[in-house]
Amino acid sequence: MISIKDLHKSYKMGDNSLHVLKGIDLDIDEGELVAIMGSSGSGKSTLLNILGMLDLADEGKYILDNVLIEGLNETTAANYRNQFLGFVFQSFNLINYKNALENVALPLYYQGFGRKIRQTKALEYLEKVGLKDWATHLPSELSGGQKQRVAIARAMASQPKVLLADEPTGALDSKTSNEVMSLIQQINHEGKTILVVTHELDIAHMCKRIVTLKDGVIVEDQKVDQVIVESHV
């Protein structure tokens, strides 16, 4: 599903250049649930942003679903994101003046679906994350866990190939973290490829594979025994 080869990325900080990713090779198959671990500054978020085409690599090859991603301008990147990727952010990034349903329907709008289809599909995904009754609530009326579930529904609504989650539990307490992770496991169980960036070991162990980054290189890549989270959402 995802294949990257010799990926480099550096940021210019005034006169100095900060080399964040120093040659990353990584292959992820369809249906995997991968945790990308690492302390802050290890480059894990940068890697996720490049995978999500929110940022561009300086060097290296990136193949997503047999499509070589290169020479992106903002328009084609936007189209790829819309087609292939779903995002879940640490800070949810819901649009605060739109209610839950409208937030979930937004990627469908950019996919060009009509209003009725958007509404039905969005409601369907909200039901999946257990928030059907909250469809007309604004983000400010939802708890952190609920917000993140809405965000996950939004990411799923466009039926992406890959779901990218950047510290999805970073802003949540352990109980709601478990709820969210349980949801992610469930989605993965249905066959979706998911990448989760985290610095928490227990979250990482809820995934099937842990890739550990340190100072811009992969230092460890191992399959683990998945801890299944039971949650009653």
Binding site: D55, I95, K98, P107
Partner: protein, 409 residues
């Protein structure tokens, strides 16, 4: 870009961001409203200026006698020139091609009494043609006519304010009042646009005044009206010829500029017109200034709006919005708001001007108006600049990497 869906998206955004919407809408509406009202007031000022200064007939020459400054044909310098009735006749006969009418004027001031009330008023002894020159409007009765002049009648025409002062609610027509030492019969009441001073005058036949003053034939000044289709250049030629003719008749050195003074109203009109044009420029300046202030206002708000939405635009981009659709959304929204509020501001401004009418006359604003083309052009200009002002920050925001936009807190 203009599909029903994108409109729905925009209406939703507008409905849910009422503060932002009303802020930018209000700025545009206020800007265009102030522009239209100011511009209308400027036009009202121009109108009252016209009424004050351009009220009298423009095709007239005012001829005043002076004092000679050079000796000529055996006369010494410093001789006082006087006009008499024969001058009127001579001007009429010698300049038939140019002249429409000639009227003398003799100014006096005298005590006027009626039923115990009395006051001092200026009187003008004139010929019937004077009515046209001053654009005197008869309210009641009639003006001095040829019959009065020939028969030297003691008929007078009094100003509106004279009638008000002396007669109150009484009808003055046919009443006799005492002026100086004789009794005069009021045959008419007049009003004049030029103001109160004009309406405190009393008109009488010039021959009657001459009869009262030992039956002489002197006149103070002569007002010549010429054909209005002559044009400015011909009027100047006429003025020159008239001057030469009178200098010759009165034995004044042709090079002596002090014997006779001629005031050409056409000339003065030109000066006044220039002043009116300056007024117009000031009005335009104020208008453009207001418009620029409005444009700056809407630009600021657009920058603020886009800044406020940076994160939202980042989210939209992460979800697959192309830069084009982001710019389109911001622009469509801003144009929609500015157009709607611009037009309502324009309508409000025009409605206010229409309703004001002459209510601000005491502030020298008469019949303020704005022509539709100026109003529409100003509105379109504001909408256009609002769109440009929205486009630049929207474009910048659309090209920011979504990751940077998402980090924006």
């Amino acid at each position: 870009m203009f599909s029903r869906d994108s409109w729905q998206e925009i209406f939703e955004t507008i409905r849910k961001n009422k503060l932002r919407t009303s802020l930018s809408g209000f700025t545009v509406a206020l800007g265009i409203f102030i522009f239209i009202v100011l511009f209308g007031f400027g036009n009202g000022l121009k109108n009252s200026f016209k009424q004050f200064f351009l009220d009298d007939a423009t095709n007239t020459l005012w001829v005043y006698p002076g004092k000679t400054s050079k000796p000529y044909r055996g006369f010494k310098a410093n001789r006082r020139i006087e006009f008499e009735n024969s001058d009127l006749k001579d001007i009429k006969e010698n300049f038939k091609f140019f002249v429409e009418d000639v009227t003398p004027r003799i100014n006096r001031s005298s005590r006027v009494r009626y039923k115990g009330k009395s006051d001092n008023y200026s009187s003008r002894a004139v010929a019937p043609g004077h009515q046209y020159i001053e654009k005197t409007i008869i309210m009641k009765g009639r003006f001095i006519n040829e019959d009065d002049v020939v028969n030297k009648t003691k008929n007078i025409v009094i100003g509106r304010l004279v009638s008000q002062d002396l007669f109150k609610d009484e009808d003055p027509i046919g009443k006799y009042l005492e002026m100086g030492t004789s009794a005069f019969k009021v045959v008419g009441v007049f009003q004049d646009q030029s103001g109160d001073r004009e309406e405190r005058l009393i008109y009488m036949p010039y021959t009657t005044r001459q009869l009262l003053e030992k039956n002489n034939d002197k006149v103070n000044s002569i007002i010549v009206s010429f054909r209005s289709d002559l044009g400015y250049a011909t009027a100047l030629v006429f003025e020159k010829q008239l001057r030469l003719f009178l200098k010759n008749k009165k034995d004044i050195d042709p090079r002596d500029n002090n014997g006779i003074r001629i005031r050409n109203v056409a000339d003065q009109i030109r000066q006044n017109q220039q002043f009116a044009n300056v007024l117009q420029i000031i009005v335009a300046f104020v208008g453009i200034g207001t418009l620029i202030a409005g444009i700056i206002g809407i630009s600021n708000i657009m920058v603020f709006v886009v800044k406020e939405r940076t994160k939202e635009l980042g989210v939209r981009k992460a979800l697959g919005a192309t830069p084009k659709s982001v710019i389109g959304m911001v622009l469509q929204e801003s144009i929609f708001i500015t157009a709607l509020s611009g037009i309502s501001g324009m309508i409000c401004g025009i409605a206010l001007l229409r309703n004001l009418g002459d209510r601000l006359e005491e502030f020298f604003i008469i019949d303020p108006y704005i022509d539709n083309i100026t109003a529409v052009v100003a509105t379109v200009l504001l909408i256009l600049f609002g769109a440009i002002a929205g486009y630049l920050p929207a474009k910048r925001a659309a090209l920011i990497k979504p990751i940077v936009a998402l980090r924006d807190e």
